[in-house]
Symmetry: C2
Subunit: 408 residues, 2 copies
Amino acid sequence: MSAGGDKILVAQGGGPTAVINQSLVGVALEARRFAQVAHVYGARHGVRGIIDEDFVDLSQETSHNLELVANTPSSALGSTRDKPDVRYCQEIFKVLQAHQIGHFLYIGGNDSSDTVRIVSLEAQKAGYPLRCLHIPKTIDNDLVGNDHTPGFPSAARFVAQAFAGANLDNAALPGVYVGVVMGRHAGFLTAASVLGKKFPDDGPHLVYLPERTFVLAQFLAEVKEVYARFGRCVIAVSEGIHDASGTPIASLLAKNLEHDAHGNVQLSGNGALADLLCEEIKSQLKIKRVRGDTFGYLQRSFSGCVSDVDQREAREVGEKAVQFALRGAGDGSVAIQRTGAYAVDYALLPLDAVAGKTRVMEDAFITPNGTGVTDAFHAYLRPLLGAGLPDAFRLRHHPVAKLLHPGR
Amino acid sequence: MSAGGDKILVAQGGGPTAVINQSLVGVALEARRFAQVAHVYGARHGVRGIIDEDFVDLSQETSHNLELVANTPSSALGSTRDKPDVRYCQEIFKVLQAHQIGHFLYIGGNDSSDTVRIVSLEAQKAGYPLRCLHIPKTIDNDLVGNDHTPGFPSAARFVAQAFAGANLDNAALPGVYVGVVMGRHAGFLTAASVLGKKFPDDGPHLVYLPERTFVLAQFLAEVKEVYARFGRCVIAVSEGIHDASGTPIASLLAKNLEHDAHGNVQLSGNGALADLLCEEIKSQLKIKRVRGDTFGYLQRSFSGCVSDVDQREAREVGEKAVQFALRGAGDGSVAIQRTGAYAVDYALLPLDAVAGKTRVMEDAFITPNGTGVTDAFHAYLRPLLGAGLPDAFRLRHHPVAKLLHPGR
């Protein structure tokens, strides 16, 4: 577009994932194949870096280093939690104009897609020829129009492996184990906890999702039943569980303590929910060994737990974004669509079909009792987790006859 | 010993590790090489299973399945938290006599080694020819006489990878991150957090160990200083941090909230310490983005994060225990001793040299200011973590000139 050749600007927004740099590198390397592209700029810390004109020139990177960065988790350009409104997007647009950017590619979730949508509208209003593309990324898997989103499969793999280990630990030292998983509105990541199950008595035995109303009395009855049956119970809980009115369960339980138990302590993004649920189980069910973990940041940034399928697809959405942008497909959001078992293709969706919308788990993925997932969900998720998932083996049972107390 | 051939009894005690089944399988397979061994029994759930005569016959396992179980984390026989006193050990001894067990091999930490010591004394008193061997295992790395203990390297690898990821996440979305790591008395596992550092500004920037007194005001000053320097701060904290009187910091901070903040909520084995430290940082330093994680059970049972060095050594301590037992080396505790950089050999230590004693981090491993570890610790730990540790790469900095506000 500009006299010196096209300029592409790419940025990363929202929470980091294990594969978000694959998309970044997909953009940077694919752009090198187009003779008309003079520069690929990267904005540091997302839209914040655009406002601040904090750009780096990715065209000066070696392809070798880019490949190594692609395999490094978290956002190499830095990220931001800024959620631009129209005015903020106008500021973005001013900077893009000043630098004669012809293509704006933003890697992110819901909020990022909405930013791309507004910037696209501003450019249209100004009659400025800007191609605006949203590249999907979120461990929550909550973008509509996508079979799944890059970043989710690797986070799901972490959660599955974590619960596979927690289940083995719980079998060795029986008790109740509560693991709290990310996902305020969509339960996909919490549901992934069951993918490491193998034997019929393996946990997690109960799964609580934000798609269903959480009723404490019912929860306690379900834990009691599983504990009576197996002598132990492993539970996966979404951080987003809430009552019928939508009030977070952590707030309700804190009130149950009859004083402002947590004072200034915030009730999300910390260990409160796991601890409060463990207290309820201990005090109401009189079970002694009850332990809770909050997976926190480990599930999205752990270095060394990644799905090869996720890596490949995250790379491809970046590549496809450049192809769509430079071959005149118009503005839009790149989406993953499943075409086989297992194969995918990429589509370009209108920005307003994706922006600001939230996908939650389909009913067909949740068992009727609401505390488990269906075979359809297993079939949906398993291919995404990739190769080399750890497998658990048991000693077979060859009992030895008792000599001192044969009747026991 | 018995007419039908020797009988070995093996059991697993205390917290599971990623490689404790390697030791179990080392015992079971090595015993097959000795013609005089008729049976290898496994007690289910440690000493509890001995009292209950809850034995399985490992001689009926296929070597193929044993190899698969060896690669599965957590205790395949089950474990126990029972800490036997003399009377309990007398009960153990009665069962061993009844089943004509000639060799008792117990895989565990400090408490387990003490059990082996008492059972050994009971057998001597009774004039019963019983070989008693302790096989080391603990993620805390706190057994004296050992260069390190099986299970620690894999847990250390998890902690190093977790902090490597948390550091990248924190660099992308700057703020303060607190990760709380297991280890009540010994800080080895917390110190392992630094092994994923690569660039000079990488976190963890501060490490707080139970070997040093924790002073809140000093902690806050140190966090403030790092935050001012890097615009972010990653902190590794041992769950065992305490004040000069030995009082756990979680208890002190809970009191600071001016009401009995946590009610019945216990202050260890949950997310309280991380949450309370985060509250202090937010309220005292006025830093907005402060996040805490408690690694909890993930660090000892995560399925799919293991050191190959740890696997190999855990297998060998099991094999060596059988060799020591059957070749008449006497009772004792198998210990790992470093003989090269990197190579090890195995010794048999007297039981009372190990039992009931706790090793903590040597002063040479801790920096004089108490908030970091020395090169000597890096050199000590790195070879234990094994092959294929993830490496992190960065974009190199190629800034683009600002056009709208060149002066900024």
